[in-house]
């Protein structure tokens, strides 16, 4: 026994050649994959601050050349981009706040045993996660409710999120019941208990769902693509970026067919501009990212607990 212990201690102190090889390979693979994940953002960025002519020729690859910030000034001149930015910010802020408040309240309500038909309504809500009418019925429904070409289409359908409600419910169930009981003996109503006790205590989980909700709102573009066809002013930033990228695909396709020098020129100058728009859509995510990372694990682990 003592021998074995000694052996493991020795093992810990001095790495065997096998361990060293393993570590070298392991570290290399992970550092390489991290580089693959990070490099594209860096690449986009250096292409937005480098000389546009060089960017158009695809020369900029590892470091910036001919530094300038004109692109960031120039995109403000693109018609409609500012509006799209405001729409995206507005839907993210309003949509996330309403979703979080609703999830908190509903998550609390479904923990109350005495609610009329609680079990039924909870299942009624949760089961919607598992089916989907499909894109056309969804579109027809939105159009019937007057939510096409309407800003509310970004907000109202997203208020209820069964998955987030389950997360909040699971969290609230872990809060000691005594707190609530003493408050209700003092004559506090359900809403007062929710506002004064449950809501403040659920802040960690609410922060988690707020992050996921906000990222979802910021990134979503199919709703804009499908519902806002008649009003370009309501299209989101992601939708704009998609449109710009799509135009370039068409241009490139045309180029591979014919050999129009002017088209080539036009497509080259569009390249840095597109990347700049892309940077503008990704920068908000990168800014909030450090603050969100600490909530990831909590959220995803709670998510593993089923409703």
């Amino acid at each position: 026994m003592a021998e074995k212990v000694n052996k493991t201690e020795k093992h810990k102190m001095r790495l065997s050649p096998g361990d060293i090889t393993f570590n070298i390979i392991n570290y290399t693979v992970f550092i390489l994959f991290s580089l693959i994940c990070a490099f594209p953002f860096y690449y986009l960025f250096i292409n937005t601050i480098s000389d546009n002519e060089l960017v158009g020729r695809g020369v900029i690859s590892l470091w910036p050349q001919g530094f300038h910030l004109d692109n960031y000034a120039n995109i403000t001149k693109i018609n409609g981009l500012g509006t799209a930015f405001i729409v995206s910010i507005a839907r993210t802020v309003i949509g996330t706040i309403l979703m979080v408040l609703a999830s908190a309240l509903v998550g609390y309500l479904v923990t109350k045993e005495e609610m009329w038909g609680r079990k039924f309504w909870y299942r009624f809500l949760v089961i919607t996660m598992y089916f989907n009418a499909g894109i056309i019925p969804w579109y027809m429904n939105m159009s019937m409710l007057g939510l096409t070409n309407n800003f509310l289409a970004y907000i109202i359908p997203g208020i209820i999120s069964p998955y987030n409600i389950i997360l909040v419910k699971t969290y609230i169930e872990s809060i000691p019941g005594e707190l609530e009981e003493s408050a209700s003996i003092d004559g506090a109503g359900y809403f007062t208990i929710f506002r004064k006790i449950i809501f403040p205590l659920s802040k960690p989980i609410l922060a988690t769902i707020a992050i996921f909700g906000a990222v979802g709102h910021w990134n979503s573009f199919t709703d804009s693509l499908i519902l806002m066809t008649g009003n370009a002013k309501l299209q989101t930033l992601q939708h704009r970026l998609y449109t710009y990228m799509n135009e370039s695909t068409n241009l490139a396709a045309m180029l591979s067919g014919g050999s129009e020098e002017t088209l080539a020129q036009a497509s080259m100058n569009m390249r840095p501009i597109k990347f700049t728009v892309a940077m503008v859509t990704v920068i908000p995510i990168l800014i909030v990212y450090p603050f969100m990372s600490k909530y990831f694990e909590k959220g995803i682990m709670l998510g593993a607990v089923k409703g």
Binding site: L44, F131, I135
Partner: protein, 490 residues
Amino acid sequence: MTAAKSPGLKSKPAKTTVDLIGYVLRITIVLTMICLFVPALNPTRMSELIKESDSFFTSGISYGGLTEGFTRAFNKGYIESGVLVRTYIGSITALIGSLVMLAGCAMTLGEIKFKRLGAKVAIAGSGIAVLGAVFIKLQQTGFNNAANPERIKPLTPVGGFAFIAFYGVCLLLSIAYLLKLPQAGKDDKYVMEGKFRLFLMMSPFIVLVVLFSYLPLWGWRYAFYDYTPGQALTSDNFVGFKWFAYLFQNSAMRADVGRVIVNTLAVSGIGLAMSWLPLAFAIFLNEVKNSHVKRVVQTITTIPNFISWVLVYTVAFALFSSDGFMNHILMNLNFTSEPINFLQSNSGIWFKMWLWNTWKGLGWGAIIYIAGISGIDQALYEAATIDGAGRFQRMWHITIPGLMPTFFVQLVLSISNILSNGMDQYLVFKNAFNQSKIEVLDLYTYTLGLGTGGSIPLSTAVGMAKSLISVILLFSANKASKAIRGQSIV
């Protein structure tokens, strides 16, 4: 709750006629509210220029929506715009009345004082709504006597009388209810049992769920009609299972659907076959003993999960288009003299899609396993080390079995999602060159329904079949999970 107990509760009377009227009243009001969303009952549709697919609710909330088809009619003076303004005023009045009525309906769930107040509010609400509905009906003459009836094409909607009747019944019922209700005692207060208060707090959210999750299912009926946008669904264009049969009988269609299903299954299949990758990522990351490196790797590899597919495509474009990073490197190293446009090629597109999926999701997918590893008892590792187990033996005999339940749940979920790849990724990467191989079911239903020359009934049929199969898959997977591991996932 104790504080809410009222004197009235102590001697709860048996069910009486009053209660019965109460039930009927509440049900009638809720049904009337539902009818607001039925396009066939739209009382404002007094001209063919108003879309058949619009419900009373749609017409009532926006004047722009109501008059969408009238731009030309107003310009040419076919009809006075005043008629439509009055119709709109009537609709707004009826909708407001409906809301008041609904509020009254909610109050009748309380004790006696609330019941009496609720009945009064319901009388007021249904009264207003009746006036609104009658006012709409009065505009019928305006439509019939329009300057150019041939262009306006006046109609007499069923809903015109139906809504007057609905609101009328609500009015009568609430009057009867108020008359039958006993007078409130002196010490009675405005109280409501906790169970109903909770339900009322919940009800707005139930309405939202109905509107956005259940109501779309009603749209499945389009799969059974020969529908073109703007038309109504009537018995004339009912075609039964024609579109479902068409999917199999029309050879071009059959080939198309077959191709799309092959694409879908291929993309999902590669994903399933490689679903152990996040698990391996987590296990090997756990072997990185330097906590700073570990933290940084985890942080950086998670970032791509938080960017949209449009941005992923932008990244792909930046790196792999003919002017992109990859071609620059390849040409500098003299591997190729002509730029290769990697994005405009059909070759290995399924695998490329998997690669992008992995780039975006690997670090994120590993988090659940990383958290799982930290939950494994460290004593197990120590004991194994003492017994002489090497690194790989510990991974194989301790870590992997410890993560198996999580892995299994993820696997079952991805099996049930085998037909749902989402459409964002494939939509952004799609172009004329790779279209035939990249179209998965979700993308196909979108282009089939909303693309140029699309067919809404056909797309609905495809989507409906997909949804049904997905639900069946999910429940079978759940059953299998129960049988194999004694644990359900849904």
